[in-house]
């Protein structure tokens, strides 16, 4: 079996094995889940290290025809390049961490781990897939687990409402994208939804600009809803606030990135005319994320809502990098995606642990916890500082790269982004740290205890990955860059039609020529 398939199948096999274990063997179930996710994570790490950096094209490729009947032609096609190898790595890591922090799940243990494994498998499959049908298929695999997990193990009075809201929003976005994908399949006429086939086919038979103009928004805004692009974002904070820790980690950290990944994989490289027409709109909406969500985060009293909103604000950077259509910007976007996956996983793991100790996430009721929980407090400070954009963490590397990449084409947005995303976000994070960790100790939290021994593992693992990629982002960028070049390659030679006339596009085509590119 090829390595990418094994990283998808590892969680599936684990889920099947879990089904065979009787439901009241809780410890066995937990250990089996931990082993299964560790196996997945290890496979992902091995893939990442075996990946040849700086090499163009796909690696670990594997193709199995799946359906070939009449005009329906679909294939199971997986492969890795710079766009997804990092995401596969963090899916393994965050998935492992999510299983580790779920030790305290008491009810329906078996069902919980089976659903969690399905989520991990879905995310892995989505990132590894090169056939868009399979991408969609795997991405939707996580929908039902999310719903059930929020409902059964979620928190708060509103979890019922939150479960429905997140499900309906995600479905509406996904279906919009699905219609776009099918329309794309029909319009492209390549009789395939395989990205590589489509790319080769469209190089010789480009889609008319008018067709691109209406298919592009279906795909991009459909998938952007899954990411939480303003104004389609309101499901995210409430959903994460109500979700159990592991679900929030997986969703905010990993599954959200699937939407961005699809936009980078399909919409931008395959529909350049549509991109020129619509990306200015995306750029403006990204500012909505950066400003609005950061501002909303500032006002939150609930730690989870704060993290949820701030994670939406970070998504603004990712969209900004995409909208810049430069190699540096796109590289930065992928970097942000990887870094934010680690950060969101860490943040929700932190808040989850805090809730098990204090029984609340209301920051106004907390204080002075650093004294009682030195290790936990340190991890929280590091994580939240990373969220502020402190150099030395991967998030800084990603966001700075996005800002550099976008400066030439979108200078005003960069200024707003730097101000809002970094400054307002920093204020929100620092206030949270002050409220939770500093100040006088509250008597009601006198029995709170710090993380011990192996429970530190998820925090240590995620933090060290963030620091590693922060200190030497080259590990990632050397892998991402060739793929990023391929993404914007279609925009190098601006399509002549309609380019110079009329469109007051915020992205002049000249800006797509990037510094550091030697081909001109």
């Amino acid at each position: 079996m090829d390595s990418l398939t094994s990283v998808i199948l590892a969680p599936v096999i684990t889920a099947v094995l879990l089904l065979l274990i009787p439901g009241n063997f809780r410890v066995v179930l937990r250990l089996a889940a931990i082993l299964g996710s560790a196996w997945t994570a290890w496979t992902a790490v091995a893939l990442f290290s075996r990946f040849h950096a700086g090499q163009e094209g796909l690696q670990f490729e594997s193709l199995v025809p799946w359906v070939t009947v009449g005009s329906v032609n679909l294939a199971y096609h997986v492969g890795a390049d710079g766009l997804n190898i990092g995401l596969i790595l963090v899916t393994g890591l965050v998935g492992f961490a999510a299983v580790l922090v779920s030790w305290n799940i008491e009810r329906h243990v078996k069902l919980f781990y089976v659903l969690l494994m399905l989520m991990i498998a879905g995310a892995m499959g989505a990132f590894a897939s090169l056939d868009l049908f399979f991408f969609y298929f795997f991405n939707e695999l996580a929908l039902v687990p999310t719903f059930i997990m929020i409902g059964v193990w979620g928190r708060g009075e509103d979890r019922n409402w939150a479960a429905f809201k997140i499900t309906l929003y995600l479905t509406l976005g996904a279906l919009t994208a699905l219609v776009g994908l099918i329309a794309f399949y029909v319009a492209a006429g390549a009789n395939s939804l395989d990205v590589t086939v489509l790319k080769a086919h469209l190089a010789t038979h480009p889609l008319p600009a008018s067709t691109q103009t209406w298919i592009f928004p279906l795909i991009v805004f459909g998938f952007a809803t899954l990411v939480g692009l303003f104004p389609f974002h309101s499901w995210a904070p409430v959903g994460y606030a109500a979700a159990p820790t592991a679900t929030a980690m997986m969703h905010a950290g990993i599954l959200k990135k699937a939407g961005l990944y699809a936009i980078l994989r399909v919409a931008i490289p395959l529909m350049p005319d549509g991109a020129h027409r619509w990306l200015p709109v995306v750029a403006v909406l990204a500012v909505g994320n950066l400003l609005h969500c950061a501002w909303v985060a500032l006002r939150q009293k609930d730690l989870n809502l704060l993290i949820g909103n701030s994670s939406l604000a970070h998504m603004g950077f990712a969209f900004l990098g995409i909208a810049s259509l430069t190699v540096i910007g796109v590289t930065g976007t992928v970097l942000v995606m990887v870094a934010h996956a680690l950060l969101a996983g860490l943040s929700f793991a932190l808040s989850g642990y805090l809730e098990t100790q204090t029984g609340t996430l209301d920051m106004t009721r907390m204080g002075g916890l650093l004294r009682r929980m030195p290790f936990y407090g340190t991890a929280m400070i590091m994580g939240f500082m990373a969220s502020c954009g402190l150099p030395g963490f991967a998030n800084f590397a990603g966001e700075a790269t996005v800002l550099f990449g976008s400066w030439k084409s979108l200078p005003w947005l960069v200024i707003i982004a730097a101000w809002s995303g970094l400054v307002i976000g920093a204020v929100a994070m620092l206030r949270a740290l002050r409220a939770v960790l500093q100040g006088p100790e509250k008597p009601e939290f006198s029995r709170v205890s710090d993380t011990d021994y192996w429970r530190r593992l998820p925090f240590v693992m995620l933090l060290s990955a963030m620091v590693l990629f922060g200190v030497s982002p080259g590990i990632l960028t050397s892998r991402i860059e060739p793929a990023a070049k391929a993404v914007v390659a279609a925009h190098r030679t601006p399509s002549q039609a309609g380019e110079s006339k009329a469109q007051p596009a915020a992205i002049p085509a000249a800006a797509t020529a990037t510094p550091g590119h030697s081909g001109h």
């Binding site: 009449g70 049908f133 695999l141 409902g151 059964v152 499900t167 479905t171 699905l178 099918i182 029909v186």
Partner: protein
């Protein structure tokens, strides 16, 4: 004349008669055993119908009756459905009071009607087979004679079914009057001149009324919720799967196989019908609290999705219908088997009866959840791939037809709405309300086997669609007189 073509139908009739006769000698206490024997016999019939010994392609009774891939596909489909329904009825037996054997026999006779419908190549056989189905269902629906709701269901079905049959006969008369024939092959040959005749078109429209009633498509859907709710669960399941599929196989034969040109010209009519059916079913399902009534509305919505394939009017559209129905059968049979098992135990088919099911019977809970997820059209279940095929078939022909894009939008909205009420059921299973009674719900071995088969079907069709899709594709390609797909596509 080639009588061997109707071997399957003859065997089914004999089976029904055998059950009726055996009833005379079987003691009331062992009637369940009789049911299980019938299940075994239906299993053999299914193996015969899909195996290599099945009747070869051909036509009999001067073109009245055809056997082709399409007919074979649906025959296998109907026999499987009948098999699952009989298993359900065996467990349901205590609620019938008396007459269990008659229920079995009527189920088999309804099956005979469906088998003939699958092969109908003439409006006369179409009418007769539909009437056989309808008349048996009058009785099946009101089988719980002491329950008022069940009787009401039977009467409603009787009256509305009678009205729709009247329309249909009138339509057939008009068609016969203008075309001088009721044979599909003749109509196909003459369709060009016939499409000019207003009387013929009127007749066709009236026949569609009858078929619309069977499929529960708007505006002929009024009966569905009441009848679904009132009928005994096994009868409802057979109605939802068998009767609907019978309507669709005839619709495909008539519209796509016989008068494709008129279907293309009328596509606006089907757009409206499909969109209205989807919206009506989805919106009305939202406030429902009774599980069977909810399934009634869901079945209406599903008729709307299936009509997408007729809107497309292409071979791909018909293939999509066949595939969707295949997945739909497994899904609905699984759902109703669980509903029936719960209703036997809890004496209620309210959604609230499901509360605590996740703890009481994890197996039933998992099966019902998978069925619901498949109905909602979410991967990796069968319903997802079926919906994709249907949407694709419409998008294939959509270029230049804004109303088709509007229909797609309606379908998407319908799916999102349906998610709300379907997931409400999942909520009830896993965390809705507190149930005081946490005893396990007993499930018989036969039921367990049927459920496992249905789940396997749902998953296999969702994950490995190649097999059935190929069969469905061949079935449509062999549509009796169709040189149509290519010519049809060119017409767009």
């Amino acid at each position: 004349m080639n009588y061997s073509l109707i071997t399957l139908e003859i065997l089914a009739v004999l089976l029904g008669l055998t059950v009726l006769l055996a009833d005379l000698w079987v003691s009331p206490s062992s009637r369940k055993a009789l049911g299980l024997g019938l299940v075994a016999a239906l299993g053999c019939l299914l193996a015969f119908a899909v195996g290599s010994l099945a009747p070869q392609s051909g036509s009999a009774f001067s073109g009245l009756f055809v056997v082709d891939d399409l007919a074979r596909y649906f025959k296998g489909f109907f026999i499987f459905a009948a098999l699952a329904v009989v298993v359900m009825a065996v467990d349901f037996a205590p609620k019938f009071g008396a007459g269990l054997s008659e229920f079995f026999a009527l189920t088999v006779f309804a099956l005979v009607g469906m088998l003939f419908a699958a092969s109908a190549n003439d409006l006369v056989l179409l009418f007769v087979s539909l009437e056989l189905i309808t008349v048996t269902f009058f009785v099946l629906n009101s089988f719980q004679r002491t329950r008022l709701a069940s009787l009401e269901a039977g009467v409603k079905y009787l009256i509305l079914g009678g009205v729709s049959s009247a329309f249909m006969v009138f339509g057939i008369a008009l068609i016969f009057g203008t075309a001088n024939s009721t044979n599909f092959s003749v109509l196909f040959a003459k369709q060009k001149e016939l499409s000019q005749s207003a009387l013929f078109l009127m007749g066709l429209l009236l026949v569609l009324v009858g078929l619309g009633f069977k499929m529960a498509a708007v505006p002929f859907q009024m009966w569905a919720p009441d009848v679904y709710q009132g009928s005994p669960a096994p009868a409802t399941a057979f109605l939802a799967v068998g009767s609907k599929a019978a309507g669709f196989v005839l619709l495909i034969r008539l519209l796509v196989g016989t008068v494709p040109q008129i279907t293309t010209e009328w596509h606006r009519l089907f757009v409206v019908m499909s969109g209205a059916t989807i919206l009506f079913g989805s919106l009305c399902a939202i406030p429902q609290r009774n599980l069977k009534r909810l399934m009634g509305y869901s079945s209406i919505a599903n008729a709307g999705y299936l009509l997408l394939g007729i809107v497309a009017g292409s071979a791909a559209g018909s293939t999509a219908i066949l595939y969707y129905l295949g997945g739909y059968a497994f899904t609905v049979l699984a759902a109703f088997t669980v509903i029936s098992a719960i209703a036997n135990h809890v004496e209620s088919d309210d959604i609230s009866a499901l509360s605590g099911l996740g703890q009481r019977s994890p197996f039933l809970a998992a099966v019902l959840t998978m069925a619901i997820v498949s109905l909602a059209g979410i991967p990796p279940m069968a319903g997802f791939f079926g919906k994709v095929l249907l949407l694709k078939s419409v998008l294939d022909v959509a270029a230049g037809h804004p109303e088709l894009y509007a229909l797609i939008a309606v379908a998407v909205v319908g799916v999102v709405i349906s998610l709300y009420y379907y997931f409400g059921v999942i909520r009830a299973i896993y965390w809705g309300g507190q149930s005081s009674n946490l005893s396990t719900i007993p499930v018989s071995l036969a039921t367990r086997v049927v459920l496992v088969a249905c789940v396997a079907g749902i998953l296999v069709l969702g994950i490995f669609p190649q097999g059935l899709l190929k069969i469905a594709d061949q079935a449509v390609a062999g549509l009796s007189h169709s040189s149509t797909p290519a010519a049809h596509k060119a017409a767009h």
